[in-house]
Symmetry: C4
Subunit: 213 residues, 4 copies
């Protein structure tokens, strides 16, 4: 099987799984996977598709300027420039961007702190951090309607071959060596966000008096 078909299927599989969780509501979100390094080419979501469906028009191949490398009527996702930054600045092979209710709420609650930090969570190991009581943090940046500006600001947070950025009320972007690694990170961050919000929602309660119900 050609490398193009392999990569397409990897990306389509990860799309199916994330779509099954309703992480692409309202056609939001986009995904990409690197195909060749030199010159850089990668598959990226076509703009405006319903990601619950699996079709031959879900992705298109683009270059290091985010432009289609073959004749096509498809348009690359409006946010393709963010994927260009990932592949330009790191050795990552896959990048995933999704909106979830929880990642949007976290990005709003902690926007002023510009990051959120998690400590003492076993699932941090999925982010490649194995020390006891380790901390991980994810930057939270402002959103911009202008995509080139958004991409430039985003690029400031892109280093390391895996990583993640929250954009305020605009979801999370993660990148990793391949689709498996990118999805693993995505799930770990989402778990941490949901955990944190659930903890906040009960933290005001008089817990001790309720322990034995």
């Amino acid at each position: 099987m050609s490398i193009q078909i392999l990569r397409w299927n990897e990306l389509a599989d990860v799309k199916d799984e994330l779509a099954g969780r309703d992480w692409f509501f309202g056609t939001s979100g986009n995904l990409s996977i690197k195909v060749t390094d030199d010159p850089l080419t990668f598959f990226v979501s076509a703009s405006g598709k319903d990601k619950r469906k699996r079709t031959q028009e879900d992705f298109l191949l683009v270059n290091d300027a985010g432009e289609a490398v073959e004749r096509t009527h498809l348009k690359p996702s409006a946010e393709t420039l963010l994927h260009v930054e990932v592949y330009g600045k790191t050795n990552a092979g896959c990048s995933l961007h999704v909106h979830t209710v929880d990642n949007n709420v976290i990005s709003e609650l902690y926007a002023d702190q510009k990051e959120i930090v998690f400590t003492g969570q076993e699932i941090i190991k999925a982010l490649g951090v194995w020390e006891e009581d380790a901390s991980v943090s994810i930057p939270i940046m402002r959103n911009h309607a202008d995509i080139p500006k958004l991409a430039r600001e985003f690029a400031k947070h892109v280093y390391g071959d895996s990583g993640a950025v929250l954009i305020q009320n605009h979801g999370i972007t993660v990148w990793g060596k391949n689709a498996f690694e990118a999805k693993k990170q995505l799930e770990a961050w989402e778990f941490l966000f949901s955990y944190h919000l659930k903890l906040l929602s009960v933290k005001n309660s008089n817990i001790v008096s309720l322990q034995v119900q």
Copy 2:
């Protein structure tokens, strides 16, 4: 394939997807899709069906009075008149009405304000609004057991070829060019409602002191 079969399948597909999310609890909700413009005919949900099943009796063809255009033992949904208003006043091709816990709670919380407004959310773009820091609002109207009265009040909020209305403790109705556009809007609104409720549920917490857990 005839236009009737195409439209039937489009509507059945969107019904399956929404039913899979349990957005039609207790046989609530209804859907329609336009088939012809002149004279107006559209498929609408038959009354009282379990929308988790896909059958030949899920929809029936009705006219601009909401009456069946062919002999059938099926009854159009009790709320067919609302769909009549959508197709009579706009160029929309599809209209979806669902009850979710979150859209009902939002409609109750903000009933007195008669609307809820969202600002600074990336997912607003799915509603066709692309400016930075744009606001979108959705009207919230009172519910009426009398359907003709409900339809008349509903009609006051129906303009534009895509749009959405919340009825207090009676779910959301959206309309758009076709099933894809209507579903995109529906998902964007539901995302905003869920986001807002999640934010409310944690907003009283002492967030800063909990940031590093």
Copy 3:
């Protein structure tokens, strides 16, 4: 197809759907469907089965004493006597009992009031109540480990050919004309419970100041 096969499949289908929502955690819950009236026979869940699987041993036929009418190694659900009460006192054709987190929490919060009342919810129509601003209420009774005693107390709330009872921290039981009607009621009550809990979870927030986010 014989009436037995028809009823078995109806019950198996409703079991599959409720199991898909994880409404039978820990092998909790049970279901039944009437097969004959005179003498009364009905299929009821066999005890201790994983309801996520569909097998030939999911149900067994019992009589008006809740005893198997054919030789079998299967044991009827421990709570078969509650189903006996339903068929003995009403014309219902199906009865469903499930534990959900939300119905258990509601049953605990309102145990002292012995009921919970809902008003002004469109989904009340699924319970057969069509007047504007109608109220519906569901009784909440204490739980008893002794099943004959539990069944006797339960019977006090069983009248009408469709109905519902909450047992404190022991889930909901609904009954209706057939599997479709019983499931419709079950979904309507669950919707009301989830709605109410979501509303409570945000009701303390300073809603107005958050409206425009």
Copy 4:
């Protein structure tokens, strides 16, 4: 069918079901099933696999030291030593370890109390406790990055042929006679955790004044 194939399939089936609930986010969690008693061998999750997929490399056979008993490129899960303790100290046949948002939040909220106690819940019967108003408790222990140390501390809570332990911010481990019994317990505990958190999230509200909405 050989006992190995039977056990493999039992474990793969339970993995599929738990993975479908997203209880293995970020490749977290692990599972095992006993194959032979003397000498002890059991299948355990291979390290670092995506548990949403079902493959020939999901598990490997290990001995009472947690070491592979056949030549393989697979590595046993990093936490295999905890499973070794279960099979060494009890007659259990299956052990399941999952991270959920709710079990992690409970483990954090009650870490200082070193346990959480539940009383008066019908679903407690799934844990094998049938008396009226019975209590069940689950120990909550600190997490340790050092796995042999973690396993030693864990072992202090392992007695009885079925049981469960929460590790702070590191999920739940349950064990039981077979996959069915282990999963039944897992679901019962998760139900209790979710119930408790939902109750906490609404407990501050002015419930009486909201009863009739």
